[in-house]
C-alpha cells in the first residue's frame, strides 16, 4: 500500500510539473490557435529571471516570482504585438515564426548570461520532506503541486468568471462579431498572450530549483507541453489538467516498471494512438463542425 501511494505521489509530482509548463501553452494555443514554439524559451527566461534576481539582487525565489511573471508577461505582450498578430489566420506559420523567436531568445540569453549551467536555490522553508499518508514527499514538490492548483483556479476564474474571460471567449468564437460589440479584440488577444507567457515564466522559475538552468532547457519542455495540451483537448482547461496528471502517472509507472527511456517511448506511442483516434482531445465532446 505504501509503495502504491509512493508511486501515485511520484506520478503526481511529474504531472504537476507538466501541468505547470503546459498551462500557459493551453491558454495561448487553446484560445488563440497560436502554436507557440517559443513557449519553452519563455520557460527558460523565467528560470533565468529567478536566477538573476538571486544572483544580482539577492532576492529569494518566492518574491522573484512576481517579477518573473510580470517580466515574461511583458515580453509576451511585445512578441504578440510585434509578430504574432500578423499570423492569426496562418496557424502553422506560427510554428515557424515562434521557432525563429525561440532561437533568438536562446542566443540573447547565451550572450548576456553566458552558456554555463546555472541553478536556483530552493527556498529554505521548502527543503524538508512532508509526510502524506505515511509517505515522505519532498516539500518542494508538494509546494509545486499546491501552487499549480492555485494557478489553475485563478486561470479558470479569469476565463469563466470575469468580464475579461467572457470577452476572450467571445473573440475566440467569432472575432469580427465580437469586435462589432465593441470588444477590442487586439487588446484581448495581446493580454491573453501576455498572461500565457507570464505563466510560462512562472513555470520556469518554479522548476529551476529541481533542474538545471541553461539556454537550451526550453526545447524539451515545449514538446512535452504540446503533447499535454493536444492530448487534453484544445480549449479545455480541465482536459489539460487531466492529461498532465495522466501522463505523469503513466510516465512514473512505466519508468518504475522498466526505465525512463522505455517509459518515454511508450508514452509517446500512447499519445500517437490517442491523437489518431481522438484528435479533438481526450476530454472534449463532439461538436458540430
Amino acid at each position: 500500500m505504501e509503495f502504491f501511494l509512493q508511486q501515485i505521489m511520484t506520478g503526481l509530482s511529474i504531472g504537476s510539473i507538466l501541468l505547470l509548463i503546459a498551462l500557459g501553452l493551453a491558454i495561448i494555443y487553446g484560445s488563440m490557435g497560436v502554436i507557440n514554439m517559443a513557449h519553452g524559451e519563455f520557460v527558460m527566461l523565467g528560470a533565468y529571471g529567478a536566477w538573476a534576481m538571486n544572483a544580482f539582487f539577492g532576492v529569494g525565489l518566492l518574491p522573484s516570482l512576481i517579477v518573473v511573471f510580470l517580466g515574461v508577461g511583458a515580453l509576451g505582450w511585445l512578441v504578440e504585438r510585434g509578430v504574432i498578430r500578423f499570423l492569426y489566420r496562418r496557424t502553422l506559420d506560427t510554428i515557424l515564426a515562434t521557432w525563429g523567436l525561440g532561437v533568438m531568445l536562446q542566443q540573447m540569453i547565451r550572450l548576456s548570461a553566458g552558456g554555463e549551467l546555472r541553478y536556483v536555490e530552493m527556498p529554505s522553508v521548502l527543503t524538508g520532506t512532508v509526510g502524506i499518508l505515511g509517505v515522505d514527499v519532498p516539500g518542494y514538490r508538494v509546494f509545486i503541486f499546491v501552487f499549480v492548483a492555485a494557478l489553475f483556479a485563478v486561470t479558470w476564474y479569469l476565463m469563466f468568471r470575469t468580464t475579461f474571460g467572457t470577452k476572450l471567449r467571445a473573440v475566440v468564437q467569432d472575432r469580427s462579431v465580437a469586435s462589432c460589440f465593441g470588444i477590442d479584440a487586439d487588446k484581448v488577444y495581446s493580454l491573453t498572450f501576455a498572461y500565457g507567457a507570464g505563466l510560462a515564466g512562472l513555470a520556469g522559475a518554479l522548476v529551476a530549483p529541481l533542474k538545471s538552468v541553461s539556454p537550451e532547457m526550453g526545447t524539451t519542455y515545449v514538446v512535452d507541453a504540446f503533447f499535454v495540451v493536444v492530448l487534453g483537448g484544445v480549449q479545455s482547461l480541465f482536459g489539460t489538467v487531466a492529461s498532465a496528471l495522466m501522463l505523469g502517472e503513466l510516465t512514473g509507472g512505466l519508468a518504475y516498471l522498466w526505465n525512463d527511456t522505455i517509459a518515454k517511448a511508450l508514452v509517446l506511442l500512447a499519445i500517437i494512438v490517442l491523437i489518431r483516434f481522438r484528435p479533438q482531445g481526450l476530454f472534449v465532446s463532439r461538436i458540430r463542425s
Binding site: 502554436i35 509578430v83 500578423f86 499570423l87 489566420r89 496562418r90 496557424t91 502553422l92 506559420d93 510554428i95 515557424l96 515564426a97 521557432w99 525563429g100 523567436l101 525561440g102 532561437v103 533568438m104 536562446q106 542566443q107 540573447m108 550572450l111 526545447t219 514538446v223 504540446f226 503533447f227 493536444v230 527511456t261 522505455i262 518515454k264 517511448a265 509517446l268 506511442l269 499519445i271 500517437i272 491523437i275 489518431r276 483516434f277 484528435p279
Partner: protein
C-alpha cells in the same frame, strides 16, 4: 518585350522546367569552377540537405502535410547505407568475421539477423528507399484514414521521430547508440569509388538530386499532383468528387519519405558516418525552416532554400564577426520571411514572373480587397 518571351513567361510549366534545368546544369558545372575537394564535399552536403527539404516541399507544400518527422526517413536511409558500408570496412577494430566494432564493445557475438542482408549492396540501396517508404505508408495510412490533419499531423510525426531517435540510441548493441556508426568503407558502385572528398561523390549527389527533383516535379504535374494540391486547398471538397483523399496523402507522404531516404543514404556517403543526430528533432525542424525560407510550394525553392540557409549558417558561424550573433541573424531572418514572404523566395520569383508576363499579381490568401477589384475588372472586361 518580345511576344514569344511573354508567351513563354505565361506558361508556368515551361518556365518551371527551364529554371529547374538551368539550376541543375549550374550544379553540374560547378566543379569546373571550383577545383577544391574539401569545398566540394561541403557543397555536396548542402545538396543532400536540399534534397531532404525538396522532399518535404512535396508533402507539405503540395499536399499540406506538415511532416515534422522528415528526419526519420532521412536517418533510416542514412543508417541503411552505413550498415552496408560498415560491413565492408577495413578490419582494424572489427570482431570475428568482420563483426562491427561497436557490437564487439557491446558484447554482441554474432551479427544480428537484420544486419545479415546488408552484406549485399543492392539490398542496402533498396532498403534505404523501401524502409522509409514502407514506414511512411503505414504511418500515413494510420493518420490519414483517421482524417488526422494540420497540427495533429505535425505532432504525430514529431512524436514518431522522437520514438525512432530514442530507439536508435537505446538499442546501442545494434545501432551504435549515441555514437552512431563510424569508421565506414567507401561506397563502390559499378567499379567507381566514391571518396567523400572527390568529384565522383559530388556528381553522385548531383545526379541523384536531379533525378529526384524531376521525379517530384513529374508527380506535381500529374493529375494526382493536381488532386494533391486540391487536397491542400480544401480537403473535404475533394472527397465529394469521389477521390479517396487518404491514399493521395499517403502517396505524397511516402514519395517524400522515399526521396528523404535517398538523401539520407547520400548523407552517409558524404559525411562518412551515421549518427542519431541525423534523425534528431533539430535537423527535422531545420528541414522545415529551409523549406519555408525557400518556398514550401516550390520544389526548387525548398532545395535552394536549404542550400542558402545551410550555406549561410556555415559561413556566418565560421566568421569571427558573426560568431556570436549569427543565430540571432538567422532567427530574425526566419521571422521576417514567415511574416512577409509566406511563399518564401520562390514566391518572390513567381511574383516577378507574373509581373513580367503582365499577369495580375498573386492575391494574398487573405485580405480580399485588391484581388476583388482585379476580379471585378475581369468581369467588366468580359461583359
Amino acid at each position: 518585350m518580345s511576344n514569344a518571351f511573354t508567351t513563354f513567361l505565361n506558361n508556368r510549366t515551361a518556365v518551371q522546367i527551364t529554371v529547374y534545368a538551368i539550376v541543375c546544369g549550374a550544379i553540374f558545372l560547378f566543379p569546373l569552377v571550383l577545383d577544391n575537394d574539401f569545398l566540394l564535399n561541403r557543397y555536396a552536403r548542402y545538396l543532400v540537405l536540399g534534397m531532404a527539404a525538396m522532399a518535404l516541399s512535396l508533402s507539405w507544400g503540395y499536399a499540406g502535410i506538415l511532416n515534422l518527422g522528415q528526419a526519420l526517413s532521412f536517418g533510416i536511409g542514412s543508417y541503411c547505407m552505413a550498415m552496408a558500408l560498415k560491413l565492408r570496412t577495413v578490419p582494424v577494430h572489427t570482431g570475428e568475421g568482420g563483426l562491427p566494432d561497436f557490437m564487439v564493445w557491446n558484447n554482441v557475438e554474432t551479427l544480428p539477423w537484420f544486419w545479415q542482408p546488408f552484406h549485399s549492396m543492392p539490398f542496402a540501396l533498396l532498403a534505404g528507399i523501401v524502409v522509409p517508404v514502407f514506414l511512411a505508408v503505414i504511418l500515413g495510412w494510420f493518420m490519414f484514414r483517421g482524417r488526422v490533419t494540420g497540427v495533429y499531423v505535425a505532432i504525430i510525426t514529431l512524436a514518431t521521430l522522437v520514438v525512432g531517435n530514442l530507439l536508435i540510441i537505446d538499442q546501442q548493441r545494434f545501432t551504435g547508440g549515441f555514437n552512431g556508426i563510424t569508421d565506414l568503407a567507401q561506397l563502390e558502385l559499378f567499379g567507381i569509388e566514391f571518396d567523400a572528398y572527390s568529384k565522383s561523390t559530388y556528381y553522385l549527389v548531383a545526379v541523384c538530386m536531379t533525378v529526384c527533383l524531376f521525379l517530384a516535379l513529374a508527380v506535381t504535374k500529374s493529375k494526382a499532383g493536381m488532386i494533391l494540391q486540391a487536397v491542400r486547398d480544401h480537403e473535404d471538397r475533394v472527397r465529394f468528387f469521389g477521390y479517396d483523399v487518404a491514399w493521395y496523402k499517403v502517396l505524397a507522404f511516402s514519395v517524400s519519405a522515399g526521396i528523404a531516404g535517398v538523401a539520407g543514404m547520400l548523407y552517409t556517403v558524404v559525411m562518412e558516418f551515421a549518427s542519431p543526430t541525423f534523425l534528431g528533432v533539430p535537423l527535422s525542424l531545420s528541414i522545415v525552416i529551409w523549406c519555408a525560407v525557400g518556398g514550401r510550394q516550390s520544389l526548387l525553392g525548398a532545395l535552394l532554400g536549404a542550400i542558402l540557409v545551410a550555406g549561410m549558417e556555415g559561413t556566418l558561424s565560421e566568421s569571427e564577426t558573426f560568431l556570436d550573433t549569427w543565430t540571432l541573424i538567422m532567427g530574425a531572418a526566419f521571422v521576417l520571411v514567415v511574416l512577409f514572404l509566406p511563399n518564401g523566395l520562390a514566391g518572390l520569383f513567381e511574383m516577378l514572373r507574373r509581373r513580367l508576363a503582365a499577369q495580375p499579381a498573386e492575391k494574398p490568401t487573405e485580405g480580399a480587397t485588391d484581388a476583388a477589384v482585379l476580379a471585378d475588372k475581369g468581369a467588366a472586361e468580359r461583359s
